[in-house]
Every structure is written in structure tokens, then in C-alpha cells.
């Protein structure tokens, strides 16, 4: 077994008196993928930021290649061969790929001016090593997709001769096909002897990629295991500190009559001739690649982009939905894909966010009944298990999972018949994710009809009673729970026209 390239021992760190990391040890060897797991707030980011030289530890030692190091800045860490690809990519959109890759360490000619032919040639070489032959080094970064930008970031790291590559949730914003490609790149880097620290929430990737896995919880080291020694269930319970019964607790709910029926619905290029029915107590999953029209369909049903033609029937009666307000009044709720953008007013208190969609329900005349409003918010916070200091806390201070629960709480106040959940667990940690799935189960038991959009295949497969697959704005398949296998769904996601779809 090779010796670790970087090893951290006894790392501790406090911020304003709060210990966020307690005596954590971690190491990574050349040619290994070491996954770092933990819920939000477990200390993963703090640990990798210390490795990257962004934070200085209060206690603990960093040994790189046998020598003890003190990183005063990210420059020191880079010099020691440690590079990081952050979740938010740090590229300059107005510059070309080549300009970005060598930014800060451009090769120079004998005269001391930047050697552009060399910059472009070496960028080409780095991209080719990543099997990214399709990316032009002279394209501006702003025209690239997220996946392409990520590869530019990786090339940038390699251009600095990184021996250790830290990847912080690299697949969080990628679609499935790009995830596969990224995983191929990671494997290739491992074969070339790069040591990789891989932070991710997604179990399937960890089992596909990692050699070892380290779990953190509440700033403490829970354990480090070889990947062969553990299974998914064990990892999850290490992360949340309690056993989780089932990853996708599909609640058995009685499925009733049709609540929502859509016939030949159209809006622009992304919602084309869509028909389906949703029944009481049912979870209908919508699968499809990004750009397949999933979110656009939700926005049309919710009145954000009203349908240009087609019919929507609610409880058998035709309705016209021209605004979110009308949709709300008809009993349709929409938990949006991007909760920061469309779901929450982050500067506002939890109490005010919870009542926002149902303000008439806590008002008499034109005035809000403060007591009733607070009581509802308190009840909702307790029922959904929102972890917060008080209901007066601004929503922006909560973690992703808790923010998502506030959005769900807001819509439950309106007593919806149809609940549309768009990526309900994106950016949410494992514990909160299971809780949101449990909430979904409880809701369908009470007769709510749920339309769930998710990019995460195991989630759609695990939670849905039926599955609607979309591509190019059209329905390309309708599958029952029993017949929905990853292969069939994947085939339908890339199919162009409706085949045997019902």
C-alpha cells in the first residue's frame, strides 16, 4: 500500500466560539479516490478548505509528501500540489477556455510576454487528456455548459501539476449523462496516480468510484472504511447517527379517482401536446434530462407560463390557469426547482414565509392575525421538523434541507389537492432527504396527489407509483412502478417520439 500523499491529523477549528471540526484525521493516497461524506454542517467544507489553504486550523498538523506544512494561503496549498474544484465554478465567463486554464501562471516567452501559442497548445493537451476533444480552447467560457466548465476547472487544476484534486460535490448540478462522463474522467485521473478527495451526497457515485470513504458528523470523525467493507445503509446511518429504515420509504396509499387531467397541453417549444392523468393519493414521477420540458410543464400547470392550447381538468371540471394565484386558488401548489430564486424570501422570518401563500387564511378583514399566524408557523415547523432557533429566524440562515421544508410548509398551508414538487431534494442532505420523502408519503396517505420532478433516477424510481418520461417537450413514455427499470426509463429519456406510451 502506498503512503498517503497528504495526511491531516487532529484537525480542529472553531468559528466565533462554535467548534465546527473536532480532532479530525484524514489522508489520501496517490491513485486513490477517497470519498468524504456527511450531512450539511458536518464539517466537510471546513476540512477541505483547510487542505486548500483557505482556513488555518486551530490545532492539528498537515503532512504533505512526508513533510509537515503550514498553509498560510491557497497559494501555499497550490505549490504543495493540492488543487480544488469548488461547487461554484470560479471561471471568468468573458475569457476563453485557454485564458482561464492558465490564468495566474501563463507560460512566458524569452521576452517575458505571454506565450499564447504555448497556452493554447498546452490547454489543448490537457483537455485531450480528459477526453474532452470536443471543446475548443478559444471558446468563451460563458457559452459552455456546466459540465464543460467543470472540465475546464479540472484542466486548470492539472495545469498547476496537482497531485491532489479535491472535488466538492462535482455532480450536484450535472445531468445523468454528464455524471457518467465526469466519473470516467475521475477514474482516469486515478489511474494516472492523482489522489482524489471526492465530496458527494450521491451514494451511487461513491460506490462506483471510491476506494475508501470517510464519514463526518457534527464536526467529528465517525469512521473511515474501505468501500468493500460497507453498504449504503451503513453509510447513511453513520452520517445521520441513527439507523434509516429505508432509503425510499414508499408509503402505500389508497389511490383514488382522478384529480388532475391534462389533455394536449402546449406552451412554446418545451410543452408539446402533453396528456396525462393524476389520481388522488398517487405520486406521479416525471423523469427526463434537463431541457426535456419537465420544469416547463410544471410552470404551465402552475400558471407561470399559461398554456397556449389544450385542456386542464381539475376534479373533472375544465379550468383555465393564467397565473400562479389562480393555480393556488384551485388547489395546486408548486415547490420550485430553485428555492432561493422562486421559493423563499430569504431575508424574511420563517413565520412570514410559511404564511405567504395563505395570508388570507390568517387574516380578518385586511389585517393579519399575528397570533394565528405564529401558531400555524410553530405547528408547521414542529410537524416538518424544521431545525431553527425560532420562527422569527430569517429563512436565509437555515440549511438547504430546512429551507426546503419551509417551502413545503408554505404550500401545505394552502391545503393543496395537487402538489408539484420540482427537484424536492436537490442540495438537501441525506437525513433531511429521508424526512422529505416521509412527508411525501404522509401527504399521499391523506389524499394529496403529487407530481414529482427529479433528476435523480433512484429517487424517481423509488418514490413514484407511475412514471412519466419526457424528452423534447413531449411525453416519451408512461411506466408503471413495476415496469420502471433504470434501463427502460433511460431509453425513454433519449427517445424522440412516443413509442408504446399509453
Amino acid at each position: 500500500m502506498t503512503a498517503p500523499y497528504v495526511s491531516l491529523t487532529g484537525m480542529s477549528k472553531s468559528f466565533v466560539g462554535v467548534k465546527v471540526l473536532k480532532d479530525v484525521s484524514f489522508d489520501v493516497r496517490p491513485g486513490e479516490v477517497h470519498a468524504l461524506l456527511g450531512e450539511n454542517g458536518a464539517g466537510k467544507s471546513t476540512l477541505i478548505k483547510m487542505m486548500a489553504g483557505l482556513y488555518t486550523p486551530d490545532a492539528g498538523t498537515i503532512v504533505v509528501d512526508g513533510k509537515e506544512m503550514k498553509f498560510a494561503s491557497t497559494r501555499d496549498a497550490t505549490a504543495a500540489g493540492i488543487a480544488t474544484v469548488y461547487q461554484e465554478l470560479l471561471l471568468f465567463p468573458e475569457m476563453t477556455v485557454a485564458e482561464n486554464v492558465f490564468l495566474g501562471h501563463y507560460p512566458r516567452t524569452a521576452l517575458g510576454i505571454i506565450d499564447w501559442p504555448e497556452v493554447r497548445a498546452r490547454t489543448r493537451q490537457l483537455l485531450d487528456q480528459l477526453d474532452t476533444f470536443d471543446l475548443d480552447v478559444d471558446t468563451k467560457v460563458l457559452s459552455l455548459s456546466v459540465a464543460q466548465r467543470q472540465r475546464v476547472e479540472i484542466a486548470k487544476a492539472l495545469s498547476k501539476n496537482a497531485r491532489v484534486l479535491i472535488m466538492d460535490e462535482p455532480t450536484a448540478s450535472l445531468v445523468e449523462a454528464d455524471v457518467q462522463r465526469l466519473m470516467a474522467v475521475v477514474r482516469q485521473l486515478r489511474e494516472r496516480g492523482v489522489a482524489i478527495v471526492y465530496v458527494s451526497h450521491r451514494m451511487s457515485e461513491i460506490f462506483a468510484l471510491a476506494d475508501r470513504v470517510t464519514v463526518l458528523r457534527d464536526g467529528a470523525h465517525v469512521g473511515t472504511r474501505d468501500i468493500g467493507e460497507v453498504d449504503e445503509r451503513e453509510l447513511v446511518s453513520m452520517m445521520v447517527g441513527r439507523p434509516i429504515d429505508s432509503l425510499f420509504p414508499k408509503a402505500e396509499a389508497a389511490i383514488g379517482e382522478t384529480v388532475l387531467e391534462v389533455k394536449n397541453l402546449n406552451h412554446g417549444r418545451h410543452v408539446r401536446d402533453i396528456s396525462f392523468a393524476l389520481r388522488k393519493g398517487e405520486i406521479l414521477g416525471i423523469a427526463g434530462l434537463v431541457g426535456s420540458g419537465r420544469t416547463e410543464l410544471a410552470l404551465t400547470l402552475f400558471g407561470m407560463t399559461p398554456a397556449t392550447s389544450g385542456e386542464i381538468l381539475l376534479d373533472g371540471k375544465p379550468v383555465r390557469i393564467a397565473s400562479p394565484r389562480q393555480a393556488r386558488d384551485l388547489g395546486i401548489a408548486y415547490v420550485p426547482e430553485d428555492r432561493g430564486l422562486q421559493g423563499l424570501v430569504k431575508s424574511m422570518a420563517i413565520r412570514k414565509n410559511v404564511s405567504m401563500a395563505s395570508i388570507e387564511g390568517v387574516s380578518s378583514g385586511i389585517f393579519i392575525k399575528a397570533g394565528a399566524e405564529a401558531q400555524r408557523a410553530l405547528d408547521a415547523v414542529k410537524r416538518l421538523g424544521v431545525r431553527c432557533r425560532s420562527i422569527a429566524q430569517p429563512v436565509g440562515e437555515l440549511s438547504g434541507g430546512n429551507q426546503q421544508k419551509v417551502v413545503i410548509a408554505k404550500w401545505l398551508q394552502t391545503n393543496p389537492k395537487v402538489l408539484i414538487l420540482d427537484e424536492p431534494t436537490r442540495g438537501v442532505d441525506v437525513g433531511a432527504k429521508a424526512e422529505i420523502h416521509t412527508i411525501m408519503g404522509e401527504l399521499v396517505k391523506q389524499g394529496v396527489a403529487i407530481l414529482m420532478i427529479s433528476s435523480e433516477l433512484p429517487e424517481v424510481l423509488g418514490m413514484s407509483d407511475r412514471l412519466l418520461v419526457m424528452n423534447g417537450g413531449r411525453v416519451t413514455g408512461v411506466l408503471d412502478r413495476a415496469e420502471a427499470t433504470p434501463e427502460r426509463v433511460g431509453a425513454a429519456m433519449t427517445r424522440l417520439e412516443t413509442g408504446e406510451a399509453a
Binding site: S323, P324, Q342, K352, A370, A392, N415
Partner: protein
């Protein structure tokens, strides 16, 4: 208790959750307002120690009554800024409305017509601005910059810069007293309290904060953001009309110009009072207190024998300090 729309068993019950205490809520909801109030009180104490005549009733009523119209205009302005917009034309609007009101009064119309005309015309003009902002989606700063030029230029062209004199005495409501207090002070206090209650406890007021905090989320929650935007501009126009009544009836004549930079003074009052220039937070109580603070500083400078020209510099420092504090607060919760 089945208060929630849909019942759910607790996922992981949390104990110890409750509404925070009254004092903590006061400090967290009215932080900036308390700061401004403290500054006013401190200023009074210091200046009175230097020159005891400062605290005389005459001085106080003249400070407050003369500036009340700014506070009233700042109520509407605060609502507009809370909603995430701005209006740089309010000074010019008040000038136009004052001329309309004075002309009607001199022409022999009943005084109530002369009083109500500016309110109605203010609402009408600002509704047009609101429609352009909400439906044509032109940024409010651009629309109101245009309105500023049109109103100011139009006023000078139409009046030729002449003053209106010969106003009937019963028209001059700002010179009257009610229960021994000047009418402008009563109007300022009553309008501030009513507007504050309405902003804090009405669904309409709440929706303005939501729109200013995150317009997309407000729309996606079923708040009719466009209608609300037009409405808030119209209400702001009504407050500009009320401010006009107090402004135009102070003296025996109405000038065809308003104090220079009146719109900036009004915006400054909102900002120093704690209304975030980025929208979503602040109260009308803050803007009224800030108006009182400026007036007090202006008068205090005279009483301690400092050139009143320093007033602008002091207010400038206050603006920067307030906006800096706002940015730091926002960074803390980002």
C-alpha cells in the same frame, strides 16, 4: 390542534421552540429605528446642555412643523423602496401639485377641492409611472428620471417661474393648530402610525415586503406583483399629495420651485430610517424618525453656532454609515 392545512405527524419533534420575547422582537424588528431615536434623544440632550434655548417649545414646533411634509412624502417613498423600486421624481411632483393646488385656491374653488386635487392628481401621475414599471418592465429609476424632467420642465414652462400669491387664509391649513398643536405635526404623527400599522399588519403590506425581498418568489407564491407595484406607486402619489398640502399651505405664497434636491432628502430619510435600498426591509416609522433627526441636526447646528452648510455633510455621513450597516447585516445572513 389542526391548525395546519394538512396534518402531519411530527417528523422529529423539537422542543423549546416559541415566539421570541417582546423585547427581543422589538430590537430585531426595529433595530435601525431605535438607533435613530437614540441619536435624536442624545442630540437633544447635548445641544440643550450647550444652549438651553434649543428645547423651547417655539423652536421644537418650528423644527417639526416645517419638516413634516418631508416625513409624509417619505412614508410613500419608503413603501416604494420596500417594494424594491425607487422614485426620484417626487420633489418635482410636489412642485407641480403645489402649483395646481394653489391655482385652484386662488381661482376661488372651495378649499377642500384645492386640498384634494393634489392627492388625486398625485395618484393619477404615479399610477402611470407604476404601470410603466410593472407592465412595461422599465426600471423605476429610468421611468422616474424621465418623470422628473417632464414634471420639472413642464412646471417652469407653464408657470414661467412666477409665484402664486393671494391665497385665501382658510386654505393655509399648515398654519392652523388643532388641540394646541400645529396641524403638520398632527398629520405627520397620525399618518405615520396608520401607515406603520397597515404595513406591519395588513396582508397588502406584507406582500410589499415579499415583493421587495424576492419578486420571483412572490409571484410564484400567488402574489399579484404587477398590480401591487401599480398600487404602491399610486399610494405613494397620494402621500406626495398629502405632503403637498402641508408644503403649499405653510406660507402666504407658493413658489414654482421646491427646495433643491427634495427627492433626495425624501429618499435619504427612508434609507437612514432603515429602509434597505435593495428592498424588502424597513418601516415608515424609521423614515419619519430620520426626518426628525435631520431637522434636529439642522437646527442644532445653528444653536451651537456651526454653519448650517455642514448639515449636508453630516447627512452624507449618515447615509454611508446606514448603507454600510445594511450591507454588513445582509452579509451576516447570506
Amino acid at each position: 390542534m389542526a391548525m395546519t392545512g394538512i396534518d402531519l405527524p411530527p417528523v422529529r419533534p423539537r422542543t423549546g421552540l416559541q415566539r421570541p420575547g417582546a423585547l427581543r422582537r422589538l430590537v430585531s424588528d426595529y433595530g435601525q429605528e431605535l438607533v435613530v431615536l437614540t441619536a435624536i434623544v442624545a442630540l437633544f440632550i447635548v445641544v440643550t446642555m450647550v444652549n438651553p434655548r434649543f428645547i423651547s417649545t417655539n423652536n421644537l414646533t418650528s423644527i417639526f412643523a416645517g419638516n413634516a411634509y418631508i416625513a409624509v412624502a417619505a412614508i410613500g417613498m419608503s413603501m416604494v423602496i420596500i417594494t424594491g423600486h425607487i422614485d426620484v421624481s417626487v420633489g418635482a411632483l410636489i412642485g407641480v401639485l403645489a402649483t395646481i393646488s394653489g391655482t385652484l385656491a386662488v381661482a376661488g374653488y372651495p378649499v377642500w377641492v384645492a386640498w384634494f386635487a393634489p392627492v388625486l392628481v398625485g395618484m393619477a401621475i404615479n399610477s402611470v409611472i407604476g404601470v410603466l414599471v410593472a407592465y412595461a418592465r422599465i426600471p423605476s429609476i429610468v421611468v422616474t428620471l424621465g418623470a422628473l424632467s417632464i414634471l420639472r420642465g413642464g412646471l417652469i414652462s407653464v408657470t414661467g417661474g412666477t409665484w402664486i400669491s393671494g391665497l385665501p387664509p382658510e386654505f393655509l391649513i399648515a398654519q392652523k393648530r388643532l388641540l394646541g398643536l400645529p396641524v403638520p405635526i398632527i398629520a405627520m404623527v397620525v399618518l405615520t402610525i396608520l401607515a406603520a400599522l397597515w404595513m406591519r399588519y395588513s396582508a397588502f403590506g406584507r406582500s410589499l415586503y415579499a415583493i421587495g425581498g424576492n419578486p420571483e418568489a412572490a409571484l410564484a407564491t400567488g402574489i399579484p406583483t404587477e398590480r401591487r407595484t401599480v398600487a404602491v406607486f399610486a399610494i405613494h402619489g397620494a402621500f406626495a399629495g398629502l405632503a403637498t398640502i402641508l408644503f403649499a399651505t405653510q406660507l402666504q405664497v407658493i413658489q414654482s420651485t421646491v427646495p433643491p434636491n427634495l427627492e433626495l432628502t425624501v429618499i435619504t430619510a427612508s434609507v437612514i430610517g432603515g429602509v434597505s435600498i435593495l428592498g424588502g426591509t424597513g418601516t415608515v416609522i424609521g423614515s419619519t424618525l430620520a426626518t426628525i433627526l435631520f431637522a434636529t441636526i439642522g437646527s442644532a447646528l445653528i444653536f451651537v453656532n456651526v454653519s448650517a452648510y455642514w448639515l449636508r455633510a453630516v447627512i452624507g455621513l449618515l447615509i454611508l454609515a446606514t448603507v454600510l450597516a445594511d450591507m454588513l447585516r445582509r452579509r451576516g445572513r447570506a
